[in-house]
């Protein structure tokens, strides 16, 4: 750990001039170049290691089954083809993979709409309105961040079962419309607290009520927080497995992760190629999202402590 830290710090042996602010360029140019080259070699080697599983997954999805397991494990193959994807697109049990895609999309879009609406409205109350009980509820909201959600799944299931809502999307979406993902509420509260209070004061003097202030002042200014919330709630919903596993029974309603499990169960590892191709398909939207919104995603994590 400590050896890795050295490149980032100035040479300890140099009797540096007593300039307290910036490091004077005391190193020679060649020494700098060598250091920078070593840094890039080390960093690229690490990147290759970390991204290897992803690369292996992608190349394997184009390989014939005979080349995935066994002695032939090179990333490259001379027999790349789309055959696995053709098999994967056929789907399982008479349901086409396109249906699973649509289902995942409906759930993810529903999650984004619900979360953005409910989290921003609730966050406005926490961040911008003074009312008795606010501190208490805010503390409770923070506490739910740390609460293992397993404690609620059993009673929730019982209730939804008694309401006849099992095997519908209601149990999967209702929480999104009720700001149940406290992380997003917290994120937006933090963001709104960063906006100057003079904004509301001025608007109030002009006679604007909370609805106006929220709708025409806060929401437009909150765009960055709304975008990170949308991206993360989309991806979390897209990857969610436990929720659909608990609530959905008919394959026609399955989103991709559940369909993948069914696929694994039914083919029992006999068709590795198609299985991996379907895994790639299931991750494709997430990867596209990542490539397009990279900046937002990584910034969101670094400034708001969001998890992946």
């Amino acid at each position: 750990m400590t050896t890795m830290a050295t490149p980032t710090q100035p040479q300890p042996t140099k009797p540096a001039a007593p300039a307290p602010v910036y490091n004077p360029k005391s190193e020679s140019l060649t020494a700098k170049r060598i250091k920078s080259t070593i840094f890039h070699i080390v960093a690229l080697a690490l990147v290759a290691m970390v991204l290897y599983p992803a690369l292996w997954m992608i190349t394997s999805s184009f390989k014939p089954n005979s080349e995935i397991g066994g002695a032939n494990n090179a990333l490259w193959s001379n027999n790349f083809s789309f055959d696995n994807f053709a098999t994967a697109m056929e789907g399982i049990g008479g349901v086409s993979t396109l249906t699973f895609f649509t289902n995942s999309l409906i759930l993810a879009v529903g999650a984004v709409v619900g979360t953005v609406l409910s989290a921003s409205i609730s966050a406005y109350a926490f961040a911008r309105i003074n009312f008795p009980g606010r501190g208490l509820f805010f503390g409770m909201m923070i506490a739910t961040l740390l609460l293992p959600f397993h404690v609620v799944i059993i009673p929730q299931y019982i209730v939804f079962q008694q309401l006849g809502l099992v095997d519908t999307y209601v149990p999967l979406l209702i929480g999104k419309f009720l700001a149940a993902d406290a992380f997003f509420v917290f994120l937006m509260v933090q963001f709104m607290r960063g906006l100057p209070a003079e904004l509301d004061e001025a608007a109030r003097i002009d006679g604007a009520g909370h609805i106006r202030i929220f709708g025409s002042i806060m929401l437009p200014l909150m765009k960055p927080a709304l975008i990170s919330t949308s991206i993360f709630s989309f991806i979390w919903s897209w990857n969610d497995f436990l929720g659909p596993l608990l609530y959905l029974n008919t394959p026609e309603k399955y989103p991709l992760p559940l369909a993948l499990r069914l696929f694994v169960d039914q083919t029992q590892s006999s068709d590795y190629g198609a299985m991996i191709a379907m895994s790639v398909l299931a991750l494709l939207p997430v990867l596209v999202f990542f490539l397009v919104f990279q900046r937002y995603i990584v910034e969101g994590v670094s400034t708001q402590g969001l998890k992946g």
């Binding site: 830290a5 490091n23 991204l51 494990n73 409910s118 609730s122 609620v152 419309f177 990857n239 436990l242």
Partner: protein, 316 residues
């Protein structure tokens, strides 16, 4: 620090500016109106279910007949249930080894990347990518294939003369495989560390250099204390997160927790008890025990944090 590590302290405050009392009533009404979505969800989806699962944990309930009160029986049975004890062991191993390793990797790489060199954005994104997909079913399938008999991991190790065979079927190796899967997702805490490292003023290191401090002393005396709020935040969140691993364990073991119970994680056992044996009371007791344990760990973290977490921002 500017970001989320302040979560505990910011909760309470925000001074109330003096306001006219006429507006106060209107504000109260508006406050609760805007809070309504969250409040409804909080009551209907969190508090209500928590209370009823507490009640259920003292009953025998199979979803079809009425719950039957049995007192503490579920809790006492738990500690004689070998599968339960095994699931506790498996989960503890995973939390105790996986989380520190993941954070060590995250901190090491963050320190490596913390410079003004070109390509930082690329490296940061590349290392972060696994965090986004690591917990998905797709990656669990890939992980299983990679660590299977004569999969790439087996082949690669054989090349160095290490013949372990497939990890998936070997109860001694599955934990290693699961820990590698979580360590692989070091990117999210790394990005948070990196943001923290950037807040440490460079002149601290310069002053230390002039005093002849080496890299180890600089790490111990500057990096670690200055970064401690971020380390604390990451440690707390990652630990709580680790307790809740589910999808990867479910897929890798075909929903059974095998081989020989070596991937029978706590949540997986809870799921099997509740939703395939329909022993809802028993599963509720397990859920409450998890809440209590996580609560105690959080409390210990916060209590001990006073001795090693320094909020430098307080002085300013």
């Amino acid at each position: 620090m500017t970001q989320s590590p302040t979560l505990s302290r910011r909760a309470a405050s925000a001074p109330t500016p003096p306001r006219k009392s006429r507006r106060r009533g209107a504000d109260t009404r508006a406050g609760y109106t805007f809070l309504l979505p969250w409040l409804l969800g909080f009551i209907a989806l969190t508090v209500g279910p928590m209370i009823s699962s507490l009640y259920l944990s003292f009953t025998n309930y199979n979803l079809f007949d009425a719950p039957k009160w049995i007192g503490f029986d579920n809790y006492t049975t738990l500690f004689q249930d070998e599968r339960f004890l095994q699931s506790v062991g498996v989960t503890m191993q995973y939390v105790v080894f996986g989380t520190p390793l993941k954070l060590a990797a995250a901190l090491a790489i963050a320190m490596l990347l913390n410079s003004k060199r070109k390509g930082q954005g690329f490296y940061r994104s590349a290392f972060y990518a696994p965090s986004l997909i690591g917990a998905s079913v797709s990656i669990a399938i890939v992980w299983k294939a990679m660590f299977g008999d004569s999969g790439p991991v087996d082949q690669g190790l054989s090349f160095f003369g290490i013949n372990l065979g497939g990890w998936v079927g070997n109860p001694n190796m599955t934990m290693g495989m699961m820990i590698l899967l979580t360590v692989w997702q070091f990117g999210a805490p790394m990005v948070i560390f990196l943001a923290g490292l950037k807040q440490i003023p460079a002149d601290l290191y310069e002053a230390a250099s002039m005093d002849g401090a080496g890299p180890v002393r600089k790490f111990m005396n500057i990096t670690w204390p200055m970064l401690s709020p971020v380390i604390f935040f990451n440690l707390l969140m990652e630990t709580i997160h680790a307790f809740q691993i589910f999808a990867s364990a479910y897929i890798i073991s075909n929903g059974e927790g095998g081989p020989a119970g070596s991937t029978l994680f706590y949540t997986l056992y809870l799921y099997l008890r509740g939703f395939s044996d329909f022993r809802m009371g028993y599963a509720s007791a397990m859920a409450w025990l998890l809440v209590i344990v996580v609560g105690i760990i959080t409390l210990i973290f916060f209590k001990t944090s006073k001795s090693w977490v320094h909020y430098s921002g307080d002085a300013k």
